[in-house]
């Protein structure tokens, strides 16, 4: 029973939990229900990945309507991996949320907060599970709308403008996507991605199809914050509540990258892209994004904003692999998708722990805190090293495959950009570490304590994952390679 409906349960469980949580009294009960739901979803997502890890595809017909008429959930290694990331990050974020939310969000809003969180999770998981392109839009809107609400709960007043900014940009992106989908539907009469992939090859010359492609690309480039369409991201990450920053940074953009992969490789096929300037354009934007955004990161004074700009740069790395369109390149994209979720998750959690204690994320306010919060400090060091790509951490594996992919294409310019990007990362990561490590003599000794265990344990789970996946890549690289074979192979 569970086995057959597994793919659906992953989406439906949080969806059912959302209204339930909303009517619960404020307090810990709402938190407990959402946590348990998330743990179950995580286990299901794990089981789903095990089911498809060998390269087979699960097709689930929603409501018993056969595709292409009904909505189909079509699971292969690629979705399963992304769903696992989303569910996994949610499962470590929620335990972390309890204390952090109590501190940052006023009590009457707690139930609604967890309810919105569940909806956001539903949306993100739905996007990964579905094989229907209109259904992607529906889930995209579910996740986006709840995200706007969650960001606006931030403590500072700027959170409202940040949420509004994201609302405008996100809606433009979603609208573009919808226009693209509409055009596809007008031309092919189908919304099922698998079905689309079979009908599109006959129509590639058609102007409408190319327009549709352009709309979808721009729409999702906005959602995943590809430079220069990233303007909503730094504010959203900076002013959102700590928990939401962690969750968004580790999952939202990743899911958008996944949709990009799906649309390009499953729906249209890379040969279609190669006939357009899209791949070159991607490479160009990525190169510019990696360099410019890294410089922006270096010049930030707020740690959350610094990491936000770094995220935009890192998205450039992910999109590079798509631009290459090669086996190695896509493996790098998927691996980095996974690894970047781990490192940014760990880093934002650690910053959140500092915010919990000192109420500020400004770098100058953190001077010398490393001594008082040694575990948080160590988490930032290891997360930072992973972000740089030091061997022994997850970030190194990403970098390894990315550079190999670039070497394979003999694209030495991009090799250089990736490596220079890492060096710039050294600078901005060390800016944080130096601030925490050295105490200025004038600073009075304050009695700040280490963060509570409820914050530290989830942080360290991610930190250890950063090291573990830097030394054992069977799950990440192994699954990614299976997924890439399916993406690049015959779409059947």
């Amino acid at each position: 029973m569970i086995e057959t409906h597994l793919s659906l349960l992953i989406v439906v469980l949080p969806l059912l939990a959302a209204p339930l949580v909303a009517i619960l009294p404020n307090g810990r009960l709402a938190w407990a229900v959402s946590s348990i739901t998330t743990f179950v979803v995580f286990l299901l997502a794990w089981q789903q990945l095990v089911n498809v890890a060998s390269g087979n595809i699960i097709s689930y017909e929603l409501g018993g309507w056969a595709p292409p008429w009904g909505i189909e959930y079509r699971i292969d290694a690629a979705n399963a991996l992304v769903a696992l990331i989303v569910a996994g990050i949610a499962a470590v974020t929620l335990p972390y949320a309890l204390r952090s939310v109590e501190k940052e969000i006023s009590k009457p809003q707690h139930s609604l907060f967890y309810s919105a969180f569940m909806l956001c999770l539903t949306g993100l998981l739905g996007i990964t599970q579905t094989g229907d392109i209109f259904n992607v839009f529906v889930f995209l809107e579910i996740s986006s709308l709840s995200t706007y609400a969650l960001i606006s709960l931030g403590k500072k007043r700027q959170a409202l403008t940040a949420a509004y900014q994201y609302l405008i940009m996100g809606t433009i992106g979603a609208t573009f996507f919808l226009i693209g989908v509409g055009l596809l539907y007008a031309m092919t009469g189908t919304l099922n991605m698998n079905d689309l992939s079979q009908r599109l090859p006959d129509l590639v010359e058609h102007r409408t199809i190319q327009t549709a492609f352009a709309f979808i690309m721009v729409g999702f480039a906005l959602k995943l914050a590809l430079f220069p369409l990233h303007l909503w991201l730094p504010n959203a990450y900076t002013y959102a509540p700590s928990v939401i920053t962690v969750f968004l940074a580790a999952t939202a953009t990743k899911v958008a990258v996944y949709v990009m992969l799906r649309v390009i490789f499953t729906v249209f096929g890379f040969s279609f892209i190669e006939n357009t300037p899209t791949d070159e354009l991607f490479l160009l934007l990525c190169v510019a994004g990696i360099l410019i955004m890294s410089f922006y990161a270096i010049n930030q004074r707020d740690s959350k904003r610094l990491l936000a700009y770094s995220s935009v740069a890192q998205i450039g790395y992910m999109m590079l692999g798509i631009g290459f369109g090669s086996m190695l390149g896509l493996t790098a994209t998927l691996v980095h998708l996974f690894n970047h979720a781990l490192m940014k998750g760990a880093l934002f959690m650690a910053i959140g722990a500092i915010v919990y204690r000192i109420g500020s994320s400004r770098i100058e306010d953190m001077a010398g805190l490393g001594k008082q919060m040694p575990w948080t400090f160590a988490a930032i060091i290891i997360g930072g090293l992973s972000l740089i790509g030091v061997p022994g951490t997850a970030g190194f594996i990403s970098k390894w495959y990315l550079v190999l992919a670039a070497i394979e294409q003999q694209n030495w310019l991009i090799v250089a950009v990736i490596l220079i990007g890492s060096l710039l990362a050294v600078i901005y990561v060390w800016k944080l570490i130096e601030a925490l490590y050295f105490r200025t003599a004038a600073e009075p000794v304050n009695n700040i304590k280490e963060a509570p265990l409820m914050l530290l344990v989830p942080t360290w789970i991610l930190v250890i994952a950063n090291i573990y996946f830097g030394l054992d890549t069977e799950l990440t690289v192994g699954t990614a390679e299976v997924a890439v074979k399916l993406l690049l192979g015959d779409p059947q």
């Binding site: 061997p391 594996i397 190999l404 070497i407 090799v415 490596l419 050294v426 030394l471 890549t473």
Partner: protein, 491 residues
């Protein structure tokens, strides 16, 4: 210990310092216990490497595959002669330095001593792991851990100067290793399909000889720890660290990890035949030769004792790099031997410099007038170290220079022979005046009765011991020579 297999001894040697680290941290408030843990661990590690050394000499080659990281790339360790030589030097000198450090850190009233000893242990662990690495990936991993674990040691004092030096240290070492060395490793991997250290190299026949020079340059400059100019600035910057760090890490472990990597890449990745046939090192030689001479010349201008020693190290490291680049049998033997010879001499010099800092609170050479008469042992040790660096008998430093010089003759590189000779003269010029000033110059006025005495006993013991090693290595260089020959000629 005799009944334990060599594989397990190897693991123990790498793991023990790592296991000791949390113990050191927990003993934070009990300095005596903390130092005992360090000393006992260091003593066991020294015994372990000596036992391993006897077994390797007897022909054993323990091997250990831990796990696979990526398809085809695993973390694995083995002991081959060159790695044994490096591990022997680093492992035994750690014990000596630990003894010294106790005297120094207490005599100098340093803060944060727990962090100091803990970072030190991690650094040693990664040094030994680097020495035992069986492939380029494992070596690179250890190389980076070594960089990061020494950062808190370099910035130990926490002053603005330390912070600045820390930036230079990390910037150059991480920058070169990620920007150049990683690229070189990736190219090697994509060309050869393996990263295992193999006798005769893995690139011959797979890499277009026309690109060999480029790849080799990526390695030589990418291994920033070898301090070939223009990537040498981190080493003088690192001198802001407490003297035991400068002595063991920045004269032995860290810098030797750099030249050791250069030698490994030369012998086991390129293979000396491929380097000679492709001319990969033809123009790189001049960078190393320039570093040898410029390092010595800059050393002469430094009045700060540790800064002078640092530039001397820069220059001496390039002896080893040069030996690797010449790539003849003799030069490679000389380069390998110089790891041990320079280590014993330079650590003695740093020990002496630290003794002067602790006992007399003097850091500049111009302040040393007449100090040798109050601290005769310290200055005697300094003289011995100096003579060994210069390469005079009866001190160990002579042998490595001898073989390095023979190597240039073998390669008919007469200019390089001249470089070595000229550098020796420069060594005399920048090292001997220091000792001479101490012994023969009249003391500065008003300093007659400040009551300066010799440094504390642990310092003197450590210093005397390394001085004796310098002498012993002249009369009995066989262990070092045998390992070097085995590494270069193959088994």
């Amino acid at each position: 210990m005799m009944s334990i297999s060599s594989e397990n001894l190897m693991i123990l040697a790498m793991l023990l310092p790592l296991v000791a680290t949390p113990l050191i941290v927990f003993a934070d408030r009990r300095p005596n216990l903390r130092e005992s843990i360090t000393l006992i661990t260091a003593a066991i590690v020294a015994l372990l490497v000596i036992t391993l050394f006897t077994r390797v000499q007897a022909g054993e080659r323990p091997q250990l595959e831990l796990f696979e990281v990526m398809p085809g790339i695993d973390i694995s360790f083995t002991i081959e002669p060159l790695g044994m030589l490096f591990a022997l030097v680093a492992g035994t000198l750690w014990f000596v330095t630990s003894v010294y450090a106790i005297g120094y850190m207490r005599g100098h009233n340093e803060k944060n001593q727990t962090r100091f000893y803990a970072s030190f242990a991690v650094a040693i662990s990664s040094t030994l792991a680097a020495a035992f690495s069986d492939n380029l990936f494992t070596l690179f991993l250890c190389y980076e851990i070594l960089t990061i674990s020494t950062y808190p040691l370099v910035t130990h004092s926490g002053t603005e100067e330390a912070k600045r030096s820390g930036r230079i240290y990390l910037g150059i070492l991480l920058g070169t290793s990620i920007g150049l060395q990683l690229l070189a490793i990736l190219i090697t991997w994509s060309v050869a399909g393996t990263l295992d250290f193999t006798e005769g190299g893995i690139l011959a026949g797979k890499l277009d000889p026309a690109y060999a020079a480029l790849l080799y340059a990526l390695f030589i400059f990418g291994i920033g720890k070898a301090a070939v100019m223009p990537f040498h600035k981190w080493l003088p910057a690192a001198m802001v660290a407490p003297t035991p760090v400068s002595a063991l890490l920045h004269a032995v472990a860290v810098v030797k990890a750099g030249v050791f990597t250069v030698l490994k890449v030369t012998i086991y990745i390129f293979g000396s035949d491929f380097i000679l046939s492709s001319g990969a090192s033809e123009w790189l030689i001049w960078f190393a030769a320039t570093t040898v001479l410029l390092g010595s010349l800059i050393a002469m201008t430094k009045d700060n004792l540790k800064a002078r020693l640092a530039y001397s190290t820069v220059s001496q490291l390039s002896y080893i790099v040069l030996g690797a680049l010449i790539a003849t049998e003799m030069s490679l033997i000389g380069a390998s031997m110089h790891i041990a010879m320079h280590a014993s001499a330079k650590i003695t010099l740093f020990f002496a410099a630290g003794a002067i800092m602790v006992a007399a609170h003097k850091t500049n050479i111009s302040q040393l007038n007449g100090l040798g008469r109050r601290m005769p042992l310290t200055f005697a040790a300094f003289t011995i170290g100096s003579l060994s660096i210069i390469g005079l008998p009866p001190f160990g430093g002579m042998w490595s220079k001898w073989y390095l010089a023979l190597g240039t003759v073998q390669a008919e590189q007469w200019v390089l022979l001249g470089v070595f000779m000229l550098s020796s003269i420069l060594n005399i010029a920048y090292l001997l005046p220091i000792a001479a000033r101490g012994f023969f110059s009249p003391s500065a006025q008003g300093e007659q009765d400040t009551g300066i005495k010799e440094a504390p006993l642990p310092i003197l013991l450590a210093m005397s011991f390394t001085s004796l090693i310098c002498v012993a290595l002249f009369f009995y260089p066989d262990p070092v020579y045998n390992l070097a020959t085995l590494a270069v000629k193959g088994n």
